[in-house]
Chain length 286, copies 3
């Protein structure tokens, strides 16, 4: 096997079952870290529905946008059973063993890295699916690719509503988290590639973009940073196009504090350091 074939073989990697499993794991664990433990005690049904929205939010949102049945994801029985098992083990495993096991940093890094791989696949599928509905409508392709890849973040207000939490003062459009931002950039890149404006083969772009996703995610988890690597570029663009000047210190502080509240499902392991809080929450379930 030559080195040049690696991207092609990589692009043929099946997502089911291992990468999908990692995605469900990362999503459900992020949900648990957002004070969802109370809900899991109060109402297992609401907790399950919330977990499904975290795992399949992208599918639900992109179906809604294209006028297709948003319950279609329920027809994939195997995936639902997989995600439900993960949900059950994360929330109700005796003595919280399952959660504590996967909260161990190396495993956590593996799961988070594999989750990011699924993001690329979802964006590509979303862009292709949108193109099959609307010919050459590049804005629709970007929107559907974005929705498919970062759906659970974008619908976080309504996912929270299922759990009885309502935070209208913020949403992922008002204050984008890093995963939502990088998915938007990915959706734009894959749309350009699909429309043949980017002189690069799709499997190469998939390979490069996935590497970037995984590396940036792992770096952010290891350095415990929530600052976006795009911050300087964003500040420059904001200044150029919108005449905005943000004091960078304030921006950092805000994003760090808001990352707790606004979007649950798509921030997975950025909250990883605060072990004390988590252990206390975990205790409650026992």
């Amino acid at each position: 096997m030559e080195l040049g074939q690696v991207p092609l073989l990589f692009s043929r990697l099946p997502m089911f079952p291992f990468f999908d499993l990692a995605h469900y794991m990362a999503s459900v664990m992020a949900l648990k870290e957002q004070r969802a433990v109370e809900v899991s005690i109060r109402s297992p049904v609401a907790c399950w529905f919330s977990a499904m929205l975290c795992c399949f939010g992208g599918s639900v949102l992109s179906s809604l946008m294209l006028g297709e049945p948003p319950v279609a994801f329920l027809a994939k029985t195997t995936n639902i059973l997989l995600a439900s098992s993960v949900w059950y083990l994360v929330f109700y495993c005796p003595q919280d063993k399952f959660y504590q096991c996967f909260a161990f940093l190396p495993l956590r890094l593996l799961v988070a890295g594999m989750k990011e791989v699924t993001r690329t696949w979802k964006i590509v599928a979303g862009v292709a699916h949108a193109d099959s509905h609307f010919e050459d409508a590049w804005l629709v392709m970007v929107a559907v690719g974005w929705a498919r890849g970062a759906g659970s973040g974008l619908i976080s207000n309504f996912e929270q509503l299922v759990r009885g939490v309502w935070k209208p003062e913020t949403n992922e459009l008002l204050k984008m988290s890093y995963p939502v931002k990088v998915t938007l950039i990915g959706a734009v890149l894959f749309t350009l590639q699909h429309s043949q404006y980017l002189p690069i083969a799709r499997h190469n772009l998939m390979f490069v973009y996935t590497i970037f996703l995984v590396v940036s995610k792992v770096t952010m988890m290891l350095t415990r940073s929530t600052a976006s690597p795009f911050a300087p570029i964003e500040a420059a663009l904001s200044h150029m196009f919108f005449g905005l000047q943000k004091p960078p210190s304030k921006v950092k502080g805000e994003s760090a504090s808001s990352s707790n509240g606004s979007s649950v499902c798509d921030q997975s392991s950025s909250e990883q350091p605060r072990d004390g809080v988590k252990k206390r929450q975990a205790k409650k379930t026992e």
Copy 2:
């Protein structure tokens, strides 16, 4: 006519117009008892729209879930006219005669019993409709059957929003009311029957389930109880699967107080006893 033929003949009972009428009556009267009198004075349009969501909520929700036009219910002009007449008479009849007449207990029991019959028919229709969209997707069948049978309860947060009321801290998934629970069980049973896992003919299941619905509803109204007959089974299951232990006294208290607030449309006559409140509200309209 033999006795064995009763379930078959029962399953051919047409819902239109009398049973549908009872459903509209019970739904609109339940709406009126939820402080909707103010809204009926402030804005008849919002009140009418809210009443239509109570009457046709199941149809709207299941259409949304299957990617079909949610306004389809407006095409059934006769049903809309019937529901609108009921709405008009309940809210704006001079001296509130119409409401007071049907608030009389025997009539109220009759209406509530007939409303429960329509629930069975809706679940069966929902399950069959979902099956025609997705082959053998039993989760979709359960979801659509549930949505069709208990739709107005499940969308109660948004129905309240039409009237300017917003209670994000609770919803029918966080704290299921009895009608929503029993509809979920019915949706599971009819899905199993439809997939031929239950060794029982459909008309027999319909007959037995409807009898159970009507008897439990009438019993709950006569004993003025809001406690679910499933409470012991639920507690056992919660304990077995989720390790949860709820103090039963607290559960009762909560469900009694929350039944006032959370779901309007689907609780019909469980509020029946508090006549004093209703009379005071009724006075306001005059």
Copy 3:
């Protein structure tokens, strides 16, 4: 050319690009006047999305109602680019020159008048589109025509949510603004005409209705009044059908104060007089 041909020629007037442009201008300027300046600084993405909902809200809502892809409006790339340019110039033009220029009363009247012309076209398109989905369902025709013509007003609660504002205590059904009311009347008239109950040719009705819209809008802007010309008829009908008696003075006061808050997108220039406020807001952007 004879005088009798004027309505026919008028009904063939193309909306694109000038009338559409006026619609975008009026919608985005109304958005800016609703304290959206803060949002434009905080998050250009949320501001853009909010502006698109104001410009294309009718299309989004009517698509949702008919089970069609609500992102279809994104496929009309030219219209999106036009609306985005208007959005950019209104919010981010250096020294706010663009906004100040079009806030000049005669220009503002022209823009508002042209926007009202697009309303007629949208209602007609909505009624015809609904008829192609459901045969002879006049309630669906009214609903879709209304949604298409006044969509941005009807979804204002959700448009506000994008900007982090949540006002559940009011909505356009609870307290209809004048544009939403007049659009409803228009939808009823065009549905009657479409079902051939009104003995008038469509182009004549379009002509008369548009004249009425433009004249009433311009009059309201010049007299700085927010009182609906239908107020006496409404009061009479309310009294006759619903037994309601509203003290007219109170109604005026309420509608004046609520017009600030509830519906942003569809009230365009009724806020025009309060120049002081606007100048202060405009200063903030600089």
